[in-house]
Symmetry: C2
Subunit: 327 residues, 2 copies
Amino acid sequence: MEVYAGVDVGGTNIVCGLVTSSGEVVYQIKRATEVSKGPDSVLEKIAAMIEEAAVAYAEQSGTGISVTAAGIGLPGFVDPEEGIARFAGNLGWRNLPAVQRLQARLNLPVYIDNDVRTYVFGEAMYGAGKGYKDVLGITVGTGIASAMVNDGALFYGFRNMSGELGHIVMEGLTDPCPCGLEGCLETFASASGMVRQAKKALRAGEPSILHSWFPGEKLEELSAADLSRAYDLDDPFAKLIMEKAGTLLGRALSYAVSMVSPELIIVGGGGALAGDRLLAPLKKELFSRILPDYRDQLKVVTALNNDDAGVTGSAMYAKQKHIAATK
Amino acid sequence: MEVYAGVDVGGTNIVCGLVTSSGEVVYQIKRATEVSKGPDSVLEKIAAMIEEAAVAYAEQSGTGISVTAAGIGLPGFVDPEEGIARFAGNLGWRNLPAVQRLQARLNLPVYIDNDVRTYVFGEAMYGAGKGYKDVLGITVGTGIASAMVNDGALFYGFRNMSGELGHIVMEGLTDPCPCGLEGCLETFASASGMVRQAKKALRAGEPSILHSWFPGEKLEELSAADLSRAYDLDDPFAKLIMEKAGTLLGRALSYAVSMVSPELIIVGGGGALAGDRLLAPLKKELFSRILPDYRDQLKVVTALNNDDAGVTGSAMYAKQKHIAATK
């Protein structure tokens, strides 16, 4: 049986899956990344996980399997053509020749790309975007990022730096962003942005049910899921925060739609768990700010395979690159 | 000698040129569009102009010439694959099978696309963008539109509706736009937008040298070039209008850069004539709102062949399509 390995590398965990050529994940394992052990250790772990998954799945299924190629989604700036992880802040990587190292270790064709691109590729081709030609995907989590798939091809831009939706500077936002700018979309509308804004306002005395859940120092533990819980109890403060975040997302997406005209927008990442709490204000703002020709056609949905899309996308991205390379 | 015909169809004039396969315009003619005579008359004029140019250039140069294919840049929504002019408000066209009609009449392969796309294609490949891989072009004239060329390929989006930069709704703008939205970028930052905003403020009594140039009812004759003239005499009002327009353009472009990461932005159309009067505030705003990684690389320039880019672009677009079709 021929499969592709798909690996999604995050700051906390590495997920490695075996994926059939039609995009079905047949086996999956997850391990702690252990960033502190350094790049060599993380690369070795990626390679070992691919081997482990292949052996375990062959045993479990009782069939011989062969891994045709491996695709790895990495955070940060990635150069897929040179096979180099240019910069990943949360991994502490800089100019790491990941493809060369992994290919030598695994004796397999290896392809890398930015993890948001591979995730959106998976969702666009095998998830909520199946059957759509022009897909814009955004991930709302610690930060906010985006990627585009048009006619089955990922969009890159100069130096592969497209998709920084989270660093659009929004009028009315003023908080500093770690990137050096002020008022970036993700300072408010990301999952961590919402939590940070909520904490700030709660500390300043804004009334909310959240005070009784997180009294005093406990407030540090507030998460985006807690905001959703409070929202569901009609807490006006939680509603205000989430509606403002959704509205800001919708506004930024209206800029994107006018530029690139997607047929479908997929909202993924942890923020997708907020569902209509974010999507309702997002859509309201978005559809009030785009040309009627867009409005009549555009759909906005949450990711279908939010948990698996990174693995599926990395594997199917490797399949696409491998087929193109061996043509 | 083998040439491509490039035609740029505007609401006022049609320009038709013969272009060598390396992008050099060797012959060019211009005629009034006479929109009021209807679509059939305009299509016949396009065909006749291509024939006329071919005959006249053959006579003038004393060489036999053959037109390999013709490319036509049309305003409005164009479906290049079906060869249909979907909607062009200023021509009064709707669902016109332009390619079928022109091919039957000319016995030549004919390709059509939106005129901003063909213009930006010309500038990106044979003008200011020569040698750059990821180019974003904008035209600032009656309206504002944009197009992208990546690795030599135009970007389309769903239903070919990408590039509506002029209809990004900007915070702080409130004027109604003919599109039905309010506060679109082009209500202020287009050439006609600047003129309209200037007239409104001058009528409300804003002091300016323009009052002495255009007293009373004469104000109706104010043009964007007059704003530039007043700007050059340090008229604070004209400076304010142009700086605000440039700032708004820069802000909208910062959204675009974060999404699609161009290496080069080309500013073309009538607005390019304003030069640094627009570009200085544009760049100041743009570069203050994008990630350092973009800032270090991105260049912003005015169009090189502003007058010819539409013709060159249409012809070379036809060449690209023709080569792909006959492969």
